[in-house]
């Protein structure tokens, strides 16, 4: 009787292991296809941008020409949140979610909806940064999944963000800042009083809060035990380091 139960248990374990292995194979296949597609998509974007600039000689109208493709591939990246949620990619759902949402916000709620900022240089700046970062990132994932990682991709992945991250932040911040006067004047995406639900929303102030949120967060608990400012300064520096590392880990 006991051995019968045991046999049953062993059999169940084997099918479970087989299920796990098959699931991983499907997951790997899907992720490979996904990452190849995204690499290709961002390459297409890069090529389109270069072609436009070579043909027209100006960046005016560049955003409009690539807007649809950008919207498609950037929005498609929402799938990555799903990947984390079901566990086939080992990253925090929240970190991925925040990153993808901030990109989608820039594309849909700033660049695409506020026409007047589309010809700003800052838009080109963040577009270039995003393109370089995403091509590197997705090709890195693709090569990893295929177990053949060229050194230069690995190098690019771990080193370019040092330059790309601040440049991207500058591009995005400058774009939002440029959008502010138009938002204020048009009152877009805003809800005023009086209304039946007694709530209001001001997109202008919301954007200002968004800009402030780019500052690396430092917890403002009073540093009671540390009397010297030197210690406080070193704490701030280590906090910035932690933030850089978190981003590093995210990109990983």
């Amino acid at each position: 009787m006991a051995s019968g139960e045991e046999d049953g248990a062993v059999e169940e374990k084997e099918t479970n292991n087989k299920k796990k292995r098959t699931k991983s194979a499907i997951a790997i296949a899907w992720l490979t296809v996904y990452n190849i597609a995204m690499t290709a998509g961002w390459l297409v974007l890069a090529v389109a941008m270069i072609r436009f600039y070579l043909q027209k000689g100006t960046h005016r109208g560049l955003y409009r020409s690539i807007a649809r493709t950008l919207k498609f591939f950037q929005t498609f990246a929402l799938l990555e949140v799903g990947h984390c949620a079901i566990g086939i990619v080992r990253t925090s759902v929240i970190v991925t979610g925040v990153q993808v949402c901030s990109r989608i916000f820039m594309v849909w709620f700033i660049a695409s909806s506020i026409r007047q900022v589309q010809n700003q240089e800052s838009v080109i700046l963040f577009l270039v940064v995003w393109t370089v970062t995403e091509i590197t990132r997705y090709s890195f994932y693709t090569f990893n999944l295929l177990n053949h990682l060229p050194y230069f991709i690995k190098w690019a992945r771990y080193n370019m963000f040092i330059v790309m991250y601040p440049l991207g932040v500058i591009g995005e911040l400058m774009t939002i800042y440029a959008a502010l006067p138009y938002v204020r004047r048009s009152g877009m995406y805003s809800l005023r009083l009086p209304n039946t639900y007694n709530v209001s929303f001001d997109y202008y102030y919301f954007l200002i809060i968004v800009m402030l949120s780019y500052i690396p967060r430092k917890k403002f608990t009073p540093i009671v035990h540390h009397k010297t400012t030197l210690f406080a300064v070193s704490k701030i520096i280590s906090e910035i380091n932690v933030h850089m590392c978190k981003l590093y880990i995210y990109i990983l």
């Binding site: 009083l193 009086p194 209304n195 039946t196 639900y197 007694n198 709530v199 209001s200 917890k219 403002f220 608990t221 009671v224």
Partner: protein, 308 residues
């Protein structure tokens, strides 16, 4: 009686922090913490976490030395919990803030709304009612903190006071701004809606108070024995038959009443977020009840009867 030796090591670095000899076997963990405090003034007992294992669960203050699985030489691992603050202090500051802040908006203190509205109260009677209800709710909470609640843990980490106060104070300001705004729109269904909502609000406030009193009467002062709460003669406590944490249930009900009464989205937000947080707490409490008592009634749900 044989005396014991107690050694306290740092949980992370394993360095020897203190060696106490001649410790009575009937000494409690709290006694040992007090002795540790005497030699390290910085670490008062509430800040100390002593465990038998570097990665283990902290020992309770009332645990007696001779009842623990240690020989005549006990080794404890110490972890600093950080600056602590008493629960009572946190609760009071959480509640006094919203009380004062809401009244500032109600009386239209300058620099909030346009100058022509300064110190003039709203013309809608529901706004006066809402102020009464909101203030009543927080006064009740303050009085309960002072006279009814018995906190099982003495303290919590200091940073919690900033977190908790920011949450309560921010939402109080946000909802008070709209309810007391000159352009406030009264509820769509008028008097009927407000009266129904007031009924729900008062019912749930009475319920909440009954539950708090029942929980207080569960154990005599100073006793740390856990007991299962049961329905009493008070009808408001009959909900114990279906729910583990009816205090949270009644609290959600209170805020739903207030939302309907004021018909204000920020209040709805506050209600939803509060509901989510209280559900998490209720589930945790329910789980600990189930772990502690094998005869725990199976009909009970954490916060919503049969649902959640």
């Amino acid at each position: 009686m044989r005396q014991c030796e107690v050694e306290i090591l740092d949980a992370k670095t394993k360095e020897k922090l203190l060696l106490l000899d001649k410790v009575e076997p009937i000494a409690t963990i709290l006694d040992i913490k007090s002795m540790f405090h005497k030699s390290n003034q910085r670490w008062y007992p509430a800040r100390q976490s002593l465990c038998l294992d570097p990665k283990g669960k902290p020992l309770k203050d009332e645990d007696v030395l001779q009842m623990l699985p240690v020989g005549t030489t006990a080794t404890f691992y110490f972890r600093d919990l950080g600056a602590q603050i008493s629960w009572g202090t946190v609760f009071l500051s959480e509640c006094i803030g919203p009380l004062v802040i809401y009244l500032m908006f109600y009386f239209r203190v300058p620099f909030i709304y346009a100058p022509k509205y300064d110190f003039k109260t709203s013309k809608h009677w529901v706004v006066h009612l809402a102020c009464l209800c909101h203030s009543f709710h927080y006064v009740k909470r303050i009085l309960e903190t002072l006279f009814v609640h018995r906190f099982s843990h003495g303290t919590m980490p200091l940073r919690n006071i900033f977190k908790n106060c920011s949450y309560y104070w921010f939402f109080a300001a946000w909802m008070a701004y709209y309810i007391n705004h000159p352009l406030y729109t009264p509820p769509y269904y008028g008097e009927q809606q407000v009266k129904t909502a007031l009924g729900i609000f008062l019912f749930c406030q009475l319920g909440s108070f009954s539950i708090h009193v029942t929980l207080r009467n569960l154990k005599p002062p100073g006793s740390k024995i856990k007991k299962i709460p049961y329905p009493t003669k008070n009808p408001f406590t009959w909900i114990f038959a279906l729910v583990s944490c009816p205090n949270y249930t009644y609290e959600v009900g209170t805020w739903m009443g207030f939302t309907v009464m004021t018909q204000c989205v920020p209040v709805a937000f506050f209600t939803v977020i509060g509901f989510i947080q209280m559900t998490v707490w209720a589930k945790g409490k329910h789980r600990s009840y189930l772990k502690e008592f094998k005869e725990y009634p199976t009909l009970r749900s954490p916060i919503l009867p049969f649902i959640l």
